[in-house]
Amino acid sequence: MIHRLLSFRLLARHSSPNYTLRRDQGAWLLAAAALTLAPHLLGMPPWVAILCPVLLAWRGWRLWHGQLAPARWLLIPLALAAVIGVRISHGHFFGKVPGLTLLAVLLSLKLLESRNMRDIRVAVLLCLFLQFGFFFNNQSLPMTLLALVTIVLTIGSLLALIDPAAKTRERLGMSVQLIIHGLPFMLVFFVLFPRLAMPLWGMPSDNSAITGLSDSMAPGTISELSLSDEIAFRAEFIGPPPPPIARYWRGPVMNDFDGRSWRIAPRPLRNQPLYTPTGVRVDYQLTVEPHYQIWLPVLDFPAGPVDNVRFSHDFQTLSRTPLNGRMQFRFSSYPETMVGLDENAWILSQARQLPRTGNPRARALAAELRGETPEQTLSQILVWMRDAGFTYTLQPPLFDVDSVDFFLFDARLGFCEHFASAFVFLMRSAGIPARIVTGYQGGTVNPINQIMVVRQSDAHAWAEVWLEGRGWVRVDPTALVAPLRITDGLAGALSSSEGELPIFLRPEFFWLRDLRFRWEVIANEWNRMVLTYNYARQRDLLEDIGLDTLEPPSLIAVMITVGVLLFIIMLLVWARHARDERDALDRAWALFSNKLARHGLARAPAEGPLDFSRRLAAALPAHAGTLGDICARYARLRYRPPASNDDIQELSHAIRTLDLK
């Protein structure tokens, strides 16, 4: 097989100025291009998403009807217009998306105008580059599989050009075989290519869209997030995971209120947390999906120091670098730790701050519910909230002015952020230090690999109150109104009339959930094995094989050596294969004999093609012509060198398709 590819004789012959694609070759090429373009077009300007399919369809029409070839005078303005269009759409040519957009348009145009073999090969190369571009934004397993399929198709279309006689299945098979040949090299380069602690260059980024929680919270922020089914992070517990009621993953803590939205306060950071961890310990490893910020979701309250992690005065846990990629952290949390027992007065006064005006009814209520001690005030407010007849809903009506009043007295419909926000407002009005904590509450343990998955739909907001002698205490007002939200998750807490629930959260789709658990395991392995293979993981691995002392340049030398060795091994294997007496012609002839053996007419080992042909003609007179032709062609190809590859291909095709029924 390889020698057929190594002999570029055919390619060279076809490089003559004009080469008309055969239909099947063109179909392969178009399929490869279409599959290559499809994932890109989603993220491109609409005119490109329309133009590219139109150009491909045009090419398809040309292929099938042999007409409508684009005139040369039309092509150049078309290409120029496309380039200008990209410039207008993106403002520049640099960066991932503008570059890929340009390539996508050029690929479609190149295919349309392809006149000779060189054009077609350029188009194939463009396809391969665009497939490489798949991974700029998405390195997930499905994308990898899609890329693999498109690469198989693209290589297959190249094979279709080299060997027009091969059938579809053979092309696919050979394409897969070629890719398998490349696998050892891929592994070597993946494992050994030096991973650096700091990248030498960054991926040009167009927009690092912030996903998940951010450093401010307004009504609607979290309920919007709850509709997303995306994974926020995974946690792998050493030992049993905590019960659902204890799964509060602390994220950004909001202190500053402007009457409508909450913001985090400036935070001095230190390597050690401000508390002394005590009591029970929970060990776990977090794998956080990129959200381009620095906060980390952790269980209360992790011990320090942790590599690459700092702690803030309001007990947030923060990464030193933004999470631009998937990152892993190892934490030990102590849920029973008391924090902020002797909180400084300035922070406490900050936690009592309210806007001067607004929400008068809430302020009045707070004054009314104020007890003799802060504890009493707290319990009275909580009792009031429990009994006031609130409804937990994803779609509360929104109101801009005096939103707390509107929620507490008029609508009485709300999501966690409304409850938390109103509660903190009431507490502060009553003079008790309180603040909002956002994060995630809940998480599903995958029964297959025991890894807990926390999704954006688990996003939550709760409150924290400072009490003399107890420090900062977590209070979750949502739990009063919708206790099921805490124990059963979002789906349990919302009434079934809420049609907006993500499909996976609906109870009737339990089987989908099961399927998702399984998929999650695979995706997690992919993340673990491939995507989080970074500097530290590479060091660990190299340590295992005793190469950890190597600096990057020596590592590259090792990589190249191993690569060359692999190449030599493959060459040797190939040479042995080539020395194998059985070439394509022999295999075809053996197949012929096997086919006839089913009719009791196997060729004797010493029987020459002519004798065989005579015997077959006598035994199967109905097929004498076909069989005699095959025998004669074999005799000629085998015993009258040199035989052309085309003829051998044709003969093996004739033998494969031979049907003696």
Partner: protein, 308 residues
């Protein structure tokens, strides 16, 4: 091969088939031997048309023909020629013997003494003779058809192995088929028919054919096959000795000639298989009784060797 050569071959075979009835395969074998520049050994009981075949070929090809009847008192000089003293010039002049012909029929070669046999066989190999210190070339082409009675007949000197090797092919004529023999009995005498035969090809056409044989294409695989056949006779304990390299070359040359007669420009395993019994039959000797192997033994040998 040019079409004219092709038609010459067909004409030759057709014409010869008119004379020797029902023996087309043997005629083709004899022709193959001739155009492969080999010598032919015909082994059979008397009266089966050996002489007629040789004579017919000579006439059809327009070759000078000489027949030598071998007897136990035949001397080498009777074949090669003698130097005679010429009174007028007082010198010896060489008077060429019957071997100086383009086609020599050596009838019943195994009736002569070994000395005489070897004189002929050396001439066959060298294609020249040496007499009185003079070297004289034999005519071109030079083709010997020797006939021999089966060696178990009384009063014969079997040819030694080394000399049998010089015959490219050995054929048997055997009794004709019933239909052919009936026709033979009804029609006029073969001798009269021979008298009326005219050459169908010119001498230089024959040489063209001989050249064409050498240009027949032989694939590497086929050489492997020929080697496998030679090797198996050498490894086989049933035979006293295996086939010589000369026999191997002979086998290839014969297969080339046969493929040409079959109308191909390349040699197939079938050609080799067809010629093998004729090339190997007289060269191999069984360990058990020293005789040549029978046809069945040779074809079973062929069946055992798979085509490479």
């Amino acid at each position: 091969m040019p079409p004219s050569l092709r038609s010459h071959i067909d004409d030759l075979i057709d014409a010869a088939s008119q004379i020797i009835l029902g023996k087309q395969d043997e005629i083709k074998l004899a022709l193959a031997c001739l155009i492969a520049r080999g010598h032919l050994l015909i082994e059979d009981v008397p009266g089966t048309g050996k002489t007629t075949l040789a004579h017919a070929l000579a006439r059809l090809l327009g070759l000078q023909f000489q027949r030598i009847q071998f007897t136990s008192d035949l001397l080498p000089a009777d074949i090669l020629g003698v130097s005679v003293f010429e009174r007028e010039t007082s010198t010896f002049r060489f008077r060429p013997g019957p071997v100086f012909a383009q086609l020599v029929l050596a009838d019943e070669i195994n009736r002569a003494t070994p000395k005489t046999q070897s004189a002929l066989l050396e001439a066959m190999e060298e294609r020249q003779i040496t007499a009185d210190g003079q070297t004289l070339p034999l005519p071109e082409p030079f083709f010997v058809i020797a006939t021999q009675n089966p060696s178990y007949q009384i009063g014969t000197f079997p040819l030694p192995e080394s000399q049998l090797d010089r015959f490219l092919l050995r054929i048997h004529l055997g009794y004709p088929e019933r239909a052919a023999e009936l026709e033979l009995l009804q029609s006029q005498s073969r001798r009269d028919l021979l008298e009326n035969l005219h050459p169908v090809i010119a001498l230089d056409r024959l040489q063209d054919l001989q050249r064409a044989v050498q240009e027949q294409i032989v694939a590497g695989r086929l050489i492997d096959y020929v080697y496998a056949l030679l090797d198996v006779t050498r490894q086989n304990a049933d035979f006293v000795t295996g086939l010589s390299p000369r026999a191997g070359l002979g086998l290839l040359a014969a297969a080339r000639a046969w493929s040409l007669i079959e109308g191909r420009d390349h040699v197939l395993p079938e050609d080799v298989q067809h010629m093998f019994p004729h090339v190997a039959g007289h060269r191999l000797h069984r360990t058990s009784d020293g005789r040549n192997p029978v046809a069945e033994e040779l074809s079973s040998l062929l069946r055992d060797i798979a085509l490479p």
